[in-house]
Assembly symmetry: C2
Homo-oligomer: 259 residues x 2
Amino acid sequence: MSSRLVGVGVGPGDPDLVTVKALRVLRSADVVFLPVMDLDTPGRAEAVVRAHLGADPRLRRVVFALDEPAGAPSAARESAWDAAGREVAGAVADLAPAGAVADLAPAGATVAFATIGDPNIYSTFTYLAQTVAALVPGLEVETVPGITAMQDLAARSGTVLVEGTESLGLLPLTAGLDRLRQALADHDTVVAYKGGRVLPAVLRLLTDAGRLDDAVYGAGLGLAGEDIRPAGEVDAGESAPYLSTVLVPARRVGRGGKL
Amino acid sequence: MSSRLVGVGVGPGDPDLVTVKALRVLRSADVVFLPVMDLDTPGRAEAVVRAHLGADPRLRRVVFALDEPAGAPSAARESAWDAAGREVAGAVADLAPAGAVADLAPAGATVAFATIGDPNIYSTFTYLAQTVAALVPGLEVETVPGITAMQDLAARSGTVLVEGTESLGLLPLTAGLDRLRQALADHDTVVAYKGGRVLPAVLRLLTDAGRLDDAVYGAGLGLAGEDIRPAGEVDAGESAPYLSTVLVPARRVGRGGKL
């Protein structure tokens, strides 16, 4: 059997928002990697995983550079990704004895990588999996979906994302404000991630488009410092965390975006 | 305490894709409503709920007309929604004794409504909640997010939905093929729901746009009859179920849409 690398979405931060399948994979994997900014500080995915698995010896931190506002990968970040990929590939190799004949080898090792949100939506797992797959011939890559910040913010703020024939545009603000302006023109509902550093410009844009009133701002969802407010109550002078979400619901006749 | 109506997303069909929070609400609610097309046939949400709760006496079927291809609500469907809303509202009233003084009343009743996918994304729960809230003054409406078919199809087909600065457009094909054409022009990745009845036209449109090769088709995700294929392998003459998904991933240099 081949070795497996499984990207496990653990949801936006609330430990209750992991799926039964995610827990099953995390509990049965040979090793569970937890992405962190530095080895001494637990990451957001780690907090969710430890809420369920505690001080499990199979858990291992791996330093992983977060996405950056500029969008395009920097050399330093690419180097951090490569190092993380080599570390995970090394763990796969250690678990699969060298020289084992495929047919005689024991059941292939399973290495899990916990990731906030969903592993197929703006996830560091995408980059990691490419690096590890290039280093480990025959590696099977799988993912387990997770609840996204968009869905959590909709639920916590009582906002319907889409109904009937409405459409939704999802984009990171690292793609530029013009993409947000275009999405507001093309779609009923728009969700913008990673807008912390450009929040004042986003608020102005929503005001100009007449869409500020129904919009919702969210950061730290499910964490101690959770901040969910109508976007109109956010001060343009405030500094917002990079990983924040702005949800602009469809204009719905007679009732706004709320239930 | 007020009575609560909680829309619980149970994911796309695989019982393992429910969240810990969804199970907690389903297990603690006074009544759990399960939407069905007719009272003698279990629905898709019911199958997921019963996989965890079995023959629990708190489970109650309620007839609920599915969304229809035409998009705009028909009179018959609206009438079915109203009847379902009255039934759920009646259950809330039965659980909260008439004439109870708010301060002296026991803890408010919790009525759960299980819904496939996420209760804020093209969900029948949106319509139900509006009807029940109009009938029950002071009702608190909450939702628990659930994994969507889009996320499940991405995971099962090994397709990255969005990475880096890519954007995503999500729409139901009941909105018309022009909306799909526009979304393909505006977005890196496009996901189209409810395309069963117009699938041949969708395949032609993807071919003309040069996007057929990476596109993935999925139906019955997580169920016994699961059907996941490259869209290019779907015969234009096939009849497809209404609740099907077409995923058109971003064109990514050097590696297509797959990991």
